[in-house]
Subunit: 334 residues, 2 copies
């Protein structure tokens, strides 16, 4: 039954990285320990789980989840196949999966929030392009059946505090400081935060962005107008020209899957991606215009069809991994 | 530098188990997807990460973290040594680490809460018997140095919803339904919830309880009086006699570490454990009185000194693992 080929590790473990510490004024009293006076709280760090295979390649991969997800999402697919964590170990890469600050095992936060318990499964089912609820897209790559759907919904994880771009990118930058040169793989919401790390930390040697969903950065004065969709407006982010220039020093690839319209539609979960691909196209052009090396890959255009927003756990995730391996090889990142 | 001996896996992955689903009345509108009407939310599940070594033993170990912790705490110690997850893989056990419902990667919850951001590091430093803040206990087993302390504080994880004993034990019971016969290893707060699973699920073949901190169950009419300490009162939990009887069918061992007083003290973080050990002693006696097989091991009494509340990540955690291996062997659980 188990199709898992044996895999030998030469290291595995975990640690927290980055973060801040707050302290309540006063003096701690061990006779009254529930009084916060004089006590500290450590929060806003990222947490990493890492595994290293035999004969590891020199550059590890850092896998950064998207919105409402955690590092566990790289560990296995909703139908129990191997996730990118295991697939890339098999390809010889040390793999670091992270929970971003204020999420999952990195949930301790210096600023709290009230847990989001809104019923949103159907919204995200559409938004993640598994299909139009309740039907998966014909020929789509989301695993069939109720169990995979249930497992996916239970992979979602709420925030424990406000999302703060500086806190996220600082914690991930601290990870690159600790582990040295590596390739950053972002999914969705992490895409925009990932550019910040690529701009500010020279240990980021390349970026693989799976369906980046926000935070496209442009040099001050060169940002396009905000784009409108039936899912709302998306604005570009302006950064100093010198920061943007830093993005031109590393190879970048951006992938998007299937079922993304090119004309406006009132189905929000689809229209949302129309403007994101349009913005990604302008962004890649801007990088290359400034001397960089970025490419936009729309998977259907290279004959890979049916992919959802979760390229890394779709039925054809080995084929997606093959594409990434090819990119890493071509750019000397393996 | 890396002292990690190669380790071959024959499986690894992860999944959610148990949980509930809530739905908002109405009809989902894909043109207005932020309206919760007609949408569902999946929450209150546990999430599991599992690894299987070569030539696995028949009974896996299920590792259940304590209060303010997550499954990641079994993965590595605060000073970067191997945690129980890896140590017991090396000993041939399939290992399942879980995040309990409403915690960490299992954070999606049907009932929310406001994130706890109180400054409590010093409270828990004392409560976990690393020392009396700011000094580690002389001869204590908590790893020395600022970095280990920082890593420990950053391993703490807040709840995303109220702690509910039935939700916790139901999710873990669903795990035992899925994986079949296994041994449950609980830490601290999980101890009391673990008895519930041992009572109600015949696939729990043994229980190793590391410093259980609450929820000691007794047959109705046989519970001891609540116990008082300078850290507050602890009451026993009464259960139907037939439920309690189910606890007598499996081998159970309970371990406590060092620096636990036998006389009352006004240092709350120490006195807290005086009454817990006293209650555990009565509890073990009750199990055995009713024909069961439970033992209480106070580690200093067998010459193992300096242990904190975190036996599994103390400097001598290999020696603690040896004790557990010996128990499992003696009881035919390996």
């Amino acid at each position: 039954m188990n199709s898992f080929a044996p895999l030998t590790l030469t290291d595995q473990g975990g640690f927290a990285v980055g973060g801040t510490t707050v302290t309540t004024p006063g003096t701690f009293d061990p006779r009254n320990p529930t009084d916060p006076a004089g006590q500290s709280l450590h929060g806003d760090h990222a947490r990493v789980f890492y595994q290293v295979p035999e004969n590891p390649r020199p550059l590890p991969l850092v896998l950064w989840h998207g919105y409402k997800q955690s590092g566990a999402g790289w560990g296995a697919t909703p139908d129990g196949r191997e996730g990118f964590q295991t697939l890339f170990l098999r390809r010889g890469f040390p793999v670091y999966t992270l929970d971003q600050p204020r999420r999952a095992t990195a949930g301790q936060t210096t600023v709290g929030t009230t847990t989001d318990t809104a019923t949103t499964d159907q919204w995200f089912y559409n938004q993640f392009r598994f299909g139009l609820w309740p039907e998966n897209y014909p020929g789509g790559q989301f695993p069939p059946g109720d169990e995979a759907r249930e497992q996916f919904f239970r992979s979602m994880v709420p925030d424990t505090g406000p999302i703060d771009a500086a806190i996220l990118s600082d914690a991930v930058s601290a990870l690159f400081d600790r582990i040295g040169p590596a390739v950053l793989v972002t999914h969705s919401h992490a895409g925009g935060f990932g550019w910040l790390d690529a701009m500010h930390n020279g240990n980021v040697k390349g970026v693989v962005a799976l369906e980046p969903g926000s935070g496209f950065v442009f040099p001050a004065g060169e940002a396009p107008e905000p784009m409108e969709s039936s899912a709302g407006t998306m604005a570009a982010v302006e950064v100093p020209a010198s920061d943007f220039q830093a993005l031109t020093r590393v190879p970048i690839v951006v992938y998007y899957g299937d079922n993304i319209p090119t004309e406006p539609t009132d189905i929000a979960g689809r229209d949302n991606w129309r403007i994101r691909v349009a913005m990604a196209r302008l962004w890649v052009d801007a990088i290359n215009h400034h001397g960089g090396d970025a490419q936009l890959v729309l998977l259907p255009e290279i004959g890979i069809t049916g992919n959802t927003h979760f390229l890394q756990s779709d039925l054809n995730n080995v084929e997606i991994a093959d594409q990434i391996s090819k990119f890493l090889s071509e750019k000397g990142l393996d």
